[in-house]
Assembly symmetry: C2
Homo-oligomer: 229 residues x 2
């Protein structure tokens, strides 16, 4: 009986995250985040406190809390007495973001000397989805799946803080994806390059995967830089 109880409690423990309630401010932030990441609110637009609080039916105070959250994620920039704006990435921002990606992704890869096969399922899953989306012609979703692939690479570090950092970095990068003229031409080629990285990892050839990832990041940065300048 005691053993059953322990097992039950442990099961509940694992689902605890599901009942993680959230404040209004957090839900507002989530909503705005979605809109921004979907491109509904293009970069450099100013977000009026008055208009949005009225539209969402929340008080200005609550909305401002939501703004703070998104500003910390760098999706919004807050200028004192001027308001909040959807961030517009500069070329410097872009290089910086890729610098972070290099540190995180390459570091994560180097950390896993012995490639634990069960930790690659997330990579494989993201890859499969990217291919499915490509087959359906949903090129924006291909970009999303690609991002999840690299999020999974960062997750190999096994660190919650690194995971969250990577999420924010990719969210920021998505701001440039939105203004790319031809999503297919940009996203499609990277699917097979990710596949190659995944294959190398599954084969245990970590060093080769590392080098392939270096080339991937270099190429992606160069191509995005060309798009924003």
């Amino acid at each position: 009986m005691a053993q059953n109880e322990v097992a039950l409690l442990e099961a509940l423990e694992q689902e605890r995250s599901l009942l993680g309630r959230s404040s209004t401010a957090e839900r507002v932030a989530a909503l705005l985040r979605e809109q921004i990441m979907a491109g509904a609110i293009p970069p450099s637009t100013r977000l009026s406190e008055d208009a949005i609080s009225r539209a969402l039916g929340v008080s200005r105070n609550t909305l401002r809390e939501a703004f703070r959250l998104l500003a910390h994620e760098r999706l919004l920039v807050h200028e004192l007495n001027r308001g909040v704006f959807v961030r517009q990435l500069t070329p410097e921002d872009l290089s910086d973001l890729f610098q972070v990606r290099r540190l995180v992704e390459l570091g994560a890869l180097r950390g896993v000397r012995a490639v634990a096969p069960e930790r690659l399922v997330a990579l494989r899953a993201a890859l499969d989805e990217a291919r499915q989306c490509a087959a359906d012609g949903r090129w924006m979703d291909v970009g999303t799946a690609n991002m999840r692939f690299h999020l999974a690479i960062a997750a190999l570090a096994g660190s919650p803080r690194v995971g969250e950092l990577m999420e924010h970095v990719l969210a920021e990068l998505r701001l440039v994806f939105l203004v790319m003229p031809d999503p297919r031409r940009f996203h499609e080629p990277y699917v097979e390059r990710n596949a190659e990285i995944c294959r190398l990892l599954e084969a245990g050839e970590v060093n080769e995967a590392h080098d392939a990832l270096v080339r991937y990041l270099d190429d992606a940065e160069r191509e995005l830089l060309r798009a924003v300048t």
Copy 2:
């Protein structure tokens, strides 16, 4: 005349950061941050909105904005309907923080194939200050200087975002420093280990510096873990 004007404008440009005004919430956050990092408010204390807003002469709303800021830096944890608490680091937190440090610091070191000598002045400066503090017996300040040394290492990556990340990581780590029983015994030995790393870098022996840093991080983590458990 035009040249003088340009020079003047450039000089002002550099000081612009100084006049970066700040909102009340940010100033309140800075004040609380200082108190926490100095150990005046020990981990796991609950911060009462009513008491603190009254004490600082700001409204509850403004104080709550400050709380949000510090919660995002992970100095405070926010529990819905229960309030905010000064974070108490768990052993898992500690390991995670060192995982991030490994990624960032080692990655930064690997990034600088060619060691630019003028970029090492910040390292040398932090080191000198650590030694000065040690000579004065101000052991807590020795810890601060040591942290700045490693902040300078992270800065070798040349990325603003990495720099800010590292600042937050070190601020969190300081929460453990505060509860260490014997500051001298803990901080003093690391000064010369940092000196060794600095020496190796200045000699251009990046690989050796890298290995020394690995040992440094391993030892520091082990010792801190023993202190919190």
